[in-house]
């Protein structure tokens, strides 16, 4: 096995669901028992243990909030305590100065945290996730240092005399009462983050976590979606902060240090990223373990540290990792009568110019990838872009789809310029693509890979479908229809990482078609396919064309190109050297030169042999 294969095998193993015996019924029973136990806890434990339980609940809320950022969206945040602090300080200051009640300050504290989530998120959106880690860490420290040095926040002494929360006129003072209030807030956090995880936004976060470029290329507005992860996470953190300040009646900056951020991160990772029960379990371990070790106080943190290492070595995926969608759960309801069985793209007038590329040019450093490329793509045709390696074909694709902003020239879709539009906008306008090196969301199942593609024509993630918009039956039907179209309907519940090479190519096409494109850009779909698969692929591409989607194809396989294309464009060293129907291009002297070099003695037979062009 090559290392790459080993790594992939390891990844597959890791991705297969754990807790194999835990079926639906078992899970429900465990959850029910846990709920009952948590409600009865005050009857079983001492006052001291209950105060520890209140801390567990606080950290569970914090874990749930950070889980949105780290677990769902895959963004490393090392300064999460900042939102904890902002919630605590906002609520306390409003209570102390404006004499608002705990519940009145709730929306304001949550909003303050959301705004700070925007502030931290915004400048970091363009950063890779590793830089994000240090920037969030810095943000956390800045918030703490500001709180330590300002007068309004009480400086290093903090704020005190913060009134306790009241429920129905009763002050929440005892550990038991605080526990129930905390449990209620935790239930709110569980409900909100659970809904988010199952929403379209949740799916967009997961796709972003798996592959940001691919995610944008199927229509997910990456920056907005990332920002929303910060904001949602921050809001939940603020909830914990308010609870914390009302519980103790006093806060000071030492509660919101980098160590707090780290503790919360440990809750998330030890519990199992992305998993809601994992967060509660993680909080219980992180808070209770040092308490249990209290009798050997001098060694307890050392033992805790060693336990942490051992735990990670034994279960790197966390104690209760997120559950994947259940195998076989992806069944679409029956087709409503009257709906056409064949998938239909957006129709456009056959023969009209859909995409017009004119004078396109781009250089990387001193290397001119494309010098001057112009062509039109008509509705209802398959147009192939061929040329030797390095001719600039993929760069043309990247310029059209917005991954690269071309330095010269224009790209017009139905007369509208695509220049400088973000990739997800371009998908929404109707240009979908696949990648030369397949880019699937490996950790999502096949059906979910497709459903991410819905982001494109659902548009405004927030406005039209609501933040928590669930996947509708129609969505599922549509996904299944495209999977069927691509010949993958039997594999809907598998992880993308478990598919064979040919299936992976087809899934990428199905995912692109989910955005209901006008134009499909295929980057070497035939690479690595065997002759049988190639035939099936050709059939598939023809069907795509017949469904009303124009196809722009990059391909080296000449059988495929010559068999499929209505027209062929030949690029060499960044310039168009020939264009026309396959037969005409095949006999073009400049094309032969480009592929074989200028060798006058070369016989026509050799050319045919080398290129595999057979009529």
């Amino acid at each position: 096995m090559t290392p790459a294969q080993t790594a992939q095998a390891a990844r597959r193993r890791r991705l297969t669901p754990r807790l194999p015996g835990a079926g639906m019924a078992t899970r429900a029973a465990v959850t029910g028992a846990a709920c009952l136990l948590s409600l009865l806890l005050p009857l079983l434990l001492s006052q001291y243990a209950m105060s520890v339980a209140v801390t567990v609940v606080t950290f569970a809320i914090l874990g749930l909030g950070l889980n949105v950022v780290v677990g769902y969206a895959g963004l490393l945040d090392l300064g999460y305590a900042a939102f904890f602090a902002i919630g605590a300080y906002t609520s306390s200051l409003l209570e102390l100065h404006l004499h608002l009640s705990f519940w009145e300050t709730l929306p304001l504290a949550v909003i303050a945290a959301a705004i700070s989530g925007c502030i931290i998120g915004y400048p970091t959106l363009r950063l890779r996730s590793d830089y994000l880690a240090i920037v969030t860490l810095g943000f956390g420290e800045i918030v703490r240092i500001i709180a330590t040095n300002l007068n309004v926040t009480g400086g290093p002494n903090g704020l005190y005399g913060i009134p306790a929360a009241t429920v129905f006129g009763t002050s929440i003072l005892t550990s038991n009462a605080q526990y129930y209030l905390g449990l209620f807030l935790m239930a709110v956090a569980v409900a909100v983050t659970g809904l988010l995880s199952r929403s379209r936004l949740g799916r967009a976060w997961r796709s972003l976590r798996e592959d940001e470029t691919a995610s944008e290329a199927v229509g997910v507005p990456a920056t907005k979606v990332k920002l929303l992860a910060y904001i949602m996470g921050a809001m939940v953190g603020a909830l914990a902060g308010m609870f914390f300040s009302a519980r103790f009646g006093a806060i000071d900056p030492t509660s919101f240090t980098y160590n707090t951020s780290v503790m919360i991160l440990i809750v998330v990772i030890v519990g199992g990223m992305g998993s809601i029960p994992g967060m509660i379990l993680g909080a219980a371990i992180v808070v209770a373990l040092p308490e249990v070790l209290r009798p050997i106080s001098n060694y307890r943190l050392l033992l805790f540290a060693l336990a942490l290492i051992v735990l990670m070595l034994a279960r790197p995926q966390g104690i209760w990792p997120a559950r994947r969608s259940r195998p076989g759960s992806f069944t679409a309801p029956p087709e409503p009568a009257g709906e056409a069985p064949a998938p239909a793209g957006r129709r456009s007038e056959p023969g009209s110019v859909l995409l017009s590329v004119a004078g396109l040019g781009h250089s990387f450093g001193g290397v001119t990838a494309i010098g001057d490329v112009s062509f039109d793509l008509h509705a209802g045709e398959i147009l192939s872009l061929i040329g030797p390696n390095g001719a600039g074909k993929t760069t043309v694709f990247n310029c059209i789809t917005g991954l690269v902003t071309p330095q010269r020239g224009s790209v017009l879709l139905g007369g509208r310029s695509l220049r400088k539009l973000r990739p997800h906008k371009i998908v929404r306008l109707g240009v979908a693509r696949t990648f030369q090196s397949i880019r699937l969301f490996e950790g999502l199942d096949v059906a979910e890979n497709c459903l991410v593609g819905l982001a494109a024509h659902q548009g405004r993630l927030l406005a039209r479908h609501g933040l928590l918009g669930r996947t509708t039956a129609a969505d599922r039907r549509q996904a299944l229809r495209w999977l069927e179209f691509a010949g993958l309907s039997g594999q809907a519940h598998l992880l993308a990482a478990q598919l064979s090479y040919g299936d992976r190519r087809r899934l990428e096409i199905a995912r692109a078609l989910m955005s209901a494109p006008l134009i499909l850009l295929l980057d070497e779909p035939g690479a690595g396919t065997n002759p049988t698969e190639k035939q099936a692929l050709m059939q598939l591409i023809r069907q795509v064309r017949d469904s009303g989607v124009a196809v722009l194809l990059i391909e080296h396989d000449m059988d495929l190109v010559m068999g499929l294309s209505d027209r062929v464009i030949v690029l060499d060293q960044g310039h168009t050297i020939a264009a026309g129907p396959p037969a005409q291009v095949r006999s073009d002297a400049r094309v032969i030169d480009a592929y074989l070099g200028r060798e006058e003695t070369e016989s026509a037979e050799t050319v045919e042999e080398v290129l595999g062009w057979r009529s």
Binding site: P3, P123, V135, I145, F304, M312, P316
Partner: protein, 299 residues
Amino acid sequence: MSAFLQYVVNGLTSGAFLALVALGYTMIYGIIRLINFAHGDVVMVGSFAGYTIVTTLVAQHWPVAVVVLVALVAGMAITGGLGMLIERVAYQPLLNSSRLAILISALGVSLALEEGVRIIFGAGFSSYPNILPAANFSLGGAHASYVQLVMFGLCLLLMLGLYLYVHRTATGTAMRALAMDRDAARLMGINVERTILLTFLLGSVLAGASGVMQGLYYSQINFIMGFLLGLRAFTAAVLGGIGNIPGAMVAGLLIGLIGSFSDGYVSSQWTDAIIFAVLIGVLVFKPTGLFGERVAERA
């Protein structure tokens, strides 16, 4: 003016210590994409190793030069071994797991080192004996000691050595290749596990040198000193462009200077906020750090 120059002198000294630590962060990050949270604590262990050696040998009236040399070399050897041990035990089994699992493992190691040292040496400050000559010379109104000069020179020498090793030798090339693509490097016959181990050895040796020198220079050390040091050094690594060795050196010196100016002109309470604000500001305009990163984007 003389105050300004004094801040420059102090900033360059602390910056040189910081740069040595930043190199470890940048190398380890470059090669396994791990923010090695334990690295600052490795420096701390180096400081305590040096402290133990210095106090023992001074009590036996060894000559100062020998004491310093032995402490430096032994300190570097001890942290080098510690770094390799940490990699073997806590990181290597997790190299193919999620990057966050390894991060938490690193946090565990960090806490374990801090707690281990606290249990042995106590929570208070330990003081290196004052054995270095205090001879000064004037530098345009600012004072610099010969010790400062020698230490600064030694830091630069170590950095230069590392740079040449990584950029001019076959093993160094293997390291850089590994940072770009682990699988491809393995296919080219590079012993990946050993090269990663070697990276930890080098990073930790530099950390040890920095730890012993800081102990000798500042005298006061405690079990928690690695935290702030690690934070600033990691900031320097990111500021310089992660994976970029000369970048980490320059950014280390720069952070030392910023810290020194902030301590002098503003207030030491705001120093870390200012350092992070500079970092965030730089990253907003240059997302790959001042000098560009040298790691391949994870495919």
